[in-house]
Amino acid sequence: MKKETGSLFVTRRRLLVTGAAALAAPAILPRSAFSQQAKTIKIGGAVPLSGPVAYWGHSTAQGFIDGAAVINEAGGVMIGGEPHMLEVISYDTKGEVADSRAATMRLVEQDQCKYVFSQAAASNVGMLQVTEPAGVLSIVACWGYLDLFGKDYPLHFRAEMSDYEQGFAYIPFMQEKYGKDALKTAAFIGPNDQDGTDCHFSYKRLMDYYGITQKAAEFYNWEDTDFYPIVAKTIADRPDFIVTSPSPPGITASIIKAARELGYTGPISSPAASETKTILEVAGEHADGVILPVTNVEPSTDTQKAIEKRFMERFGSFNALAGNYSWWIYSLKAAWEAAGTAEDTRKVAEALAAVELEDTYVGKVKWAGKNSFGVDRQGVYDCFTTTIDKGVAKVEDVRFPALPADY
């Protein structure tokens, strides 16, 4: 482990420099020390940048950093004929509620951000306690906690399609692929925390809508190392297919492998996995019949290719998740220009709800949900569904979710 040890020491030295720089930085000074630059719009990120869910936080922040650079290079956001530059500030939340509340306070109270983005349920819960009372517009990826969404939270936008919205794309697709009669019963496997409970709720509503009988619903512990017991219990009921939201790619792969080894052959859909390489590496030949909604493994349009290229240059890596989040900042830009203000967040929120983008990484985008939540605050976009067949992952279907009339 020579190499790693070497890097560790470099890291430590670098760390000291960073620490010194951080101490010198005016970050902790009261806001009077900040001279508010004219014509700048500050966007704050309260996202997990360290800890187990750092992956999500970095993917989200990258979309904003890249988008801000692109927009600034092109002359900024034009509001009332005046160009406004974008500035992105991100603080770590470790993916914890209390820490996220603190990070958002710092963004809102010290840095005076009027726009905050966040990622994952825990960070979102902490963030909302601060943003909504302060009149700050928030744009997040969060699937659960539906009681913290809708009419009572007019400045709160959920840009990522949850497993519920995705269902209106991938279930019709699966019905076409396998035939309606082959998918009469379903089972659910999720983590035994709030995310799992919320996703189970979405799953129930979806299955009721499509008239699919629900069999087992099983919940695992994050500490589990083996999925044989939980999978054995799930497939004992012989469901036609299994939904594993919101399991991350690694756990999904382990579930798939266990299911196939225990003799289950039906399709397994995973609305949160989105990391085909991991699934193929772990599950190997067992990965066939896996359905991954909102996962674009092969960027095809010019926009998608350009985003992939820019991310590779800027951050040295690119993943489908970061691509899925890259459109958020462009919809904000459109909203500022339509509203003619970046100060009045309520006006911006109204304008944002009406924004429709045609050509983003995820294709066509709009905000919906009026009949379900009272306001159009949920992002809906083309769902790129990837399937794995004979050890190869490819995009098999692209469609805009066929949302029900009362959505």
């Binding site: 890291t11 430590r12 760390l15 960073t18 620490g19 951080a22 101490l23 930085a25 970050a27 902790i28 009261p30 806001r31 009077s32 940048l49 360290s50 800890g51 750092a54 970095h58 500030i89 991100s90 603080y91 770590d92 470790k94 914890e96 509620v97 209390a98 509340r101 603190a102 990070a103 306070m105 710092r106 109270e109 010290q110 825990a122 819960v125 902490g126 306690q129 906690y145 035994n192 925390d193 709030q194 409970t197």
Partner: protein, 323 residues
């Protein structure tokens, strides 16, 4: 019995004076006052953990007992409608009662086995909050834990105001540290340290070691239960994840970096590391890595922790001025 000597007393009073005027010094910057409130929680957590350490062991169930105080106070408000003024004492009482019941079997274990058994206790506490969904709210947690209002008739203080809460939290942490200091400098405190040094010897001099261990553990858990209640009503939201093993582990880090021989250690450790944690918020992974480096460096390079710094400086100063 022995009380503080003069320099120490001056240092403590100076610290308290600074803490009292901090909101004015930072020009009532709300975010910095928030950091101040978090510091008071971390100080109480670390200081009460230090009280257990005077027995020579470290409990990893400490965050769990903080959770018991927090949940009790929160549920008293959301289910019975009683404000924090009741919840605080109910939380402290329940936390202390459970600590008393648990510590009777727990204190049979020693050294490393104690540490691990306490870890299991903390984990069971956390998982019970998650498992009994109907009562504790499951992983979803408890929302809307409102801060209290103090009605003095002529004056009403709403603790939703952050400055007011800062002074409330400061009062609580001062009281906590004072209680711990009093216990530690009393004859009982001496007994704890004698158990710390040599349990067998203490037993042979006629000390009822088991009883003292149980009482000490109960006092510490009662104190941390109060901290938990204050924490819940400040954050207004709690969930089982809030009180996981990492909270105990970070309290331990504060303790070790600060120093282990006096109550000044955990206070110094919690104050300095909470500030550093805020400074590193924008640095991503370094926020985690830095804590590891500080922890190892302070064990190997600064044995005794921050509390030895004044002494070291004095020695250095005397040596250089003497020559």
């Amino acid at each position: 019995m022995e009380d503080l000597d003069r320099p120490h007393r001056i240092a403590w009073l100076a610290l308290l004076a600074v803490a009292l005027v901090v909101p004015f010094l930072v020009n009532f910057d709300l975010y910095l006052i928030h950091v101040g409130i978090i510091i008071t929680f971390n100080v109480s957590l670390a200081a009460s953990l230090w009280l257990i350490w005077t027995l020579g062991v470290i409990s990893f169930a400490h965050a769990g007992f903080m959770g018991i105080g927090a949940y009790a106070s929160a549920l008293v408000l959301t289910k019975l409608g009683l404000s924090m003024w009741y919840g605080l004492w109910i939380g402290a009482f329940i936390s202390g009662a459970i600590a008393l019941a648990i510590s009777i079997p727990l204190m049979r274990t020693r050294a490393v086995y104690f540490f691990m058994a306490s870890w299991a206790v903390g984990e069971v506490i956390k998982r019970n909050f998650a498992y009994f969904k109907d009562f504790f709210g499951g992983w979803d947690g408890v929302f809307d834990i409102k801060p209290p209002v103090l009605d003095l008739g002529f004056l009403q203080i709403d603790f939703a105001n952050r400055v007011a809460y800062y002074y409330l939290a400061l009062f609580a942490v001062t009281a906590t540290v004072w209680v711990i200091h009093r216990v530690n400098s009393s004859r009982t405190g001496m007994i704890y340290w004698s158990i710390h040094e040599n349990e067998l010897l203490a037993q042979h001099t006629g000390i009822n070691v088991f009883r003292h261990k149980v009482i000490c553990f109960t006092i510490a858990c009662t104190l941390v239960g109060i901290t938990g209640a204050l924490y819940a009503h400040y954050q207004t939201y709690i969930s089982p994840k809030t009180f996981d093993i990492w909270k105990s582990e970070f309290a331990l880090v504060h303790l070790i970096v600060g120093g282990l021989t006096t109550v000044g250690g955990p206070v110094a450790g919690a104050i300095s590391l909470t500030i550093v944690d805020e400074l590193l918020r924008a640095t991503g992974y370094f926020r985690t890595i830095f804590f590891g480096v500080v922890l190892i460096a302070s064990v190997l390079l600064l044995p005794g922790g921050l509390e030895t710094v004044p002494g070291r400086l004095r020695k250095l100063f005397q040596r250089t001025s003497g020559r």
